[in-house]
Every structure is written in structure tokens, then in C-alpha cells.
Amino acid sequence: MASKASEPKKEVRVPVSSDNDLVTARREGRFMAEQLGLSSSEATLVATAISELARNIVSYARNGEIHICLINNGVRRGITIVARDEGPGIADTKLAVQAGYSTSGGLGLGLPGVRRIMDEFEINSEPGRGTTITITKWTRR
């Protein structure tokens, strides 16, 4: 099918280096989630998850990027968010996603909470090599 001018955006990249960028990332995420056809509640979950991931970038790595894309695996459609930074990395990723774990005096709800509200969650990190977190929410049916 030929692409039309009105065709919705399939992906957006938001550079993240300050708390202003969190607002942009949240807004883009909500917009994309609604474009995908997620309910308002689900779009809020996606926007909240993005907020947590983007804040981790600002707090721990200073600079990074939130990459949001609409995907289709042939069976289902979904929204994937990749949060990538080249910060200090996480030595123990298993520990980082455990409830109650926090190194920043936060609530320790960030990553475990994000994992709980998304359908898929993957974290790749090495000390000194940065962190990449990939989360996905699928549409129902």
C-alpha cells in the first residue's frame, strides 16, 4: 500500500537530558499509544512507564534517548519503547528490577513497577557500558 501523507507516525525519538524532556517523552508516548488504539487507561500506563524510564536516564546517566515505535508482529500490534543511555550501567540487573530496590533514595518502585505494567520488559546493562531497557505493550485481540 502506498504511503499517504496522513499516515500516522510509526516511530519517534526523544533525546533525554533534562526533566523537560520527560514531559516531551510522556506526551509522545501517550500520543503514539492512543494512535495504536490503546484505551486511555493503557495510554496512561505507557506514559507513566516512559516517565519512569526517562527519569532513570536523567538521574543516573544524564543523557540518553527514548525511542518509541509502533510495531506489528503479524499477529498483534503493539507499542515498544526503548530507553537507551551510555551511563554507568547497572551491575546487577536482576536486583534492579526487584521490588523495593533503589540506589537513589527513591521508592524502588521504578523498574519493578514498569515491568509489572507492561507486557514485555527486557533490560541489558553492563557497568561502564550503559543501559538499554525495552518495554512493550500489545493491543488486546
Binding site: D19, N20, L22, V23, R26, R27, R30, S40, S41, A43, T44, L45, A47, T48, S51, E52, R55, A99, G106, L107, L109, G110, P112, G113, V114, R116, I117
Partner: protein
């Protein structure tokens, strides 16, 4: 964008009017804690009706506001948490713990009136 704080008799009303950065929230916290003394306010209402995301930082900061205001001798009530925001908070496991909440501004004012009546009766 800074959050306007309105003084209404013994209360302060902060209405969050748009998307809020972390810095705005921290600024709001400090301003409220300061003004509750300046105006000798008995209660603070934080209206979050137009907030479409309340994440862990925002929840923590709202809690901090309520606790700091309590230490200054006044009451805080958070009003206007939207249904989707409430859903996301519950899913994420975020809580405001024992911070008072009310449906909207009207209910928030009623709550503060009730609290100050109790205070006067020494209950």
C-alpha cells in the same frame, strides 16, 4: 511552568494547570511550605485534575508536601486525581499513604473545613 498558588481565607489552593516538570513540583513544594507560614494558612489544597501522569517522583513529592505542611501545623488535601491516573498508580504500586485525598476542589474545601472544626473543638 510555575503553579499558581491562590490564597482563599485560611487556605492555600495550588492548581496544577498543565504538564509539570520535576523542577516545577519541587518549586511548588517549597513555595507551599513557605507560604503556609507567611499567610498563617490552616490548610492546603493541591488540585491535580489536569495532571495526566502521576509517576513515582510526583507521588513522592506530593507526599513530601503533605508531610512538610503537617510539620508546619496545617493540613493538606490532594484533589482531582483522574480515573486513569488512579488506575496507573495502583498498577504501579504507587501510594500517597495517609495523605488526604478528595474528589474535587469542593470536596477538598469541605474536608479542610471539617478538619479545622475538629481542631477548634480539640478533638
Amino acid at each position: 511552568m510555575a503553579v499558581p498558588i491562590l490564597k482563599q481565607s485560611h487556605y492555600l489552593i495550588a492548581t496544577i494547570q498543565s504538564v509539570l516538570t520535576d523542577a516545577d513540583l519541587v518549586h511548588l513544594r517549597d513555595a507551599l511550605v513557605d507560604r503556609v507560614g507567611k499567610f498563617r494558612s490552616r490548610g492546603v489544597i493541591v488540585d491535580v485534575t489536569s495532571l495526566d501522569v502521576l509517576d513515582s517522583f510526583a507521588s513522592r513529592t506530593l507526599r513530601d508536601i503533605a508531610y512538610m505542611i503537617r510539620l508546619r501545623g496545617a493540613q493538606t488535601v490532594i484533589v482531582g486525581i483522574q480515573p486513569e491516573v488512579a488506575f496507573a498508580m495502583v498498577q504501579l504500586g504507587l501510594t500517597l499513604e495517609d495523605v488526604a485525598t478528595a474528589l474535587d476542589l469542593e470536596e477538598g474545601l469541605a474536608y479542610l473545613d471539617q478538619q479545622s472544626r475538629h481542631g477548634q473543638q480539640g478533638v
